[in-house]
Amino acid sequence: MTKTTTTTTELPEEVKSWIGQVRYEEPTEFEVERGYIFTSCASVQNGNPLYWDEAVADELTDGITAPPTMLSAWFRPHYWAPGRTKEAQPLQVHFDLKETLGLPEAVMTDNEIVFGVPVRPGDRLRTHQILRSVSDLKTTKLGTGRFWVIEVQYLNQNEELVGTESYTGFGYGRNA
């Protein structure tokens, strides 16, 4: 996506109103748990003893912690749950933008994560999302659409900031 052309077009008022607004404050659907920590480490063959050796974890981190980069995993909704009539979406602001701007496809391009207090099994995290910006229309090799930046803040049950994640997405319609 290095070659782009830009077209200035007005954003819908609804989308403008979302910029800077705290939205979708919600708890995670389950407590941080060790099974997912093992699965995450296995998926990237991460042998860091902090996650496998309780003696090392006790000495260095006062017990088992989760790999910091697992932050977003804890707040992704179950694929299905009883009574749910439609698929719950993580990063709902991203999907709101796709729908409201009529951009059916999207990819994430940039991601910045700042890590705070370590996350531990048993933690109950909460998140909220803030839309930071939406670009003019741009045409890339994928199609024509807009870039946007969404910030997600994560807190634990003690109101401590465990991390902040910033995503840049590109929502687009495929070129004919």
């Binding site: 998926s43 980069t69 995993a73 992704r76 694929y79 993580p90 940039d110 994560i113 700042v114 705070g116």
Partner: protein
């Protein structure tokens, strides 16, 4: 405590290279990574969706799983006392089954903050053949001495 690797800030210099890490990416790598990050979106497990809806050549690795790969690469080098403070990366292109992605890194900056925490800034490149689909800049805290431990830093002593 089991003997764990210990890299001190004083052992590191700007320009140091991290050992390369080649990874053969399979469909299992992509799908396991997506499931481990609870990412159920079909472009990470459904070839037909990826090709015919997203316009990509195959399913492709998801962003949170790439973050986990970056973390693994960095802490393989630092050992367990290395504590990630910040990570920024850009996806220029996707990584597909059949690719061999090779991680390589360089120490670009060393500093000690006003709380006494030692930081190394690392530039990580991921190459696939002659392409570089993604790279990452990371800030990782390293112990200043054998009795220092960045994980013990709290509140104002932790400035990622």
């Amino acid at each position: 405590m089991a003997q764990a690797q210990l890299l001190l800030a004083g052992d590191v210099s700007v320009g140091d290279k991290l050992p390369p890490l080649p990874v053969d990416v399979s469909a299992t790598t992509v799908i396991l990574g997506a499931l481990a990050t609870r990412d159920w979106r079909p472009m990470h497990h459904d070839v037909d969706f990826a090709v015919n809806r997203n316009g990509t050549r195959d399913i492709f690795m998801n962003t949170p799983n790439l973050a986990a790969w970056f973390e693994r690469y960095l802490t393989d080098w630092s050992g367990p006392r290395g504590r990630l403070g910040r990570m920024k990366f850009r996806m220029r292109d996707s990584i597909f089954p059949g690719d061999t992605m090779v991680f390589g890194g360089t120490v670009t900056k060393l500093e000690t903050d006003d709380a006494g925490c030692c930081w190394a800034e690392i530039s990580v490149q991921v190459t696939v053949g002659d392409k570089s689909p993604t790279d990452c800049t990371a800030r990782i805290a390293l112990p200043s001495a054998p009795d220092d431990n960045p994980w013990k830093r709290k509140a104002d002593d932790w400035k990622p």
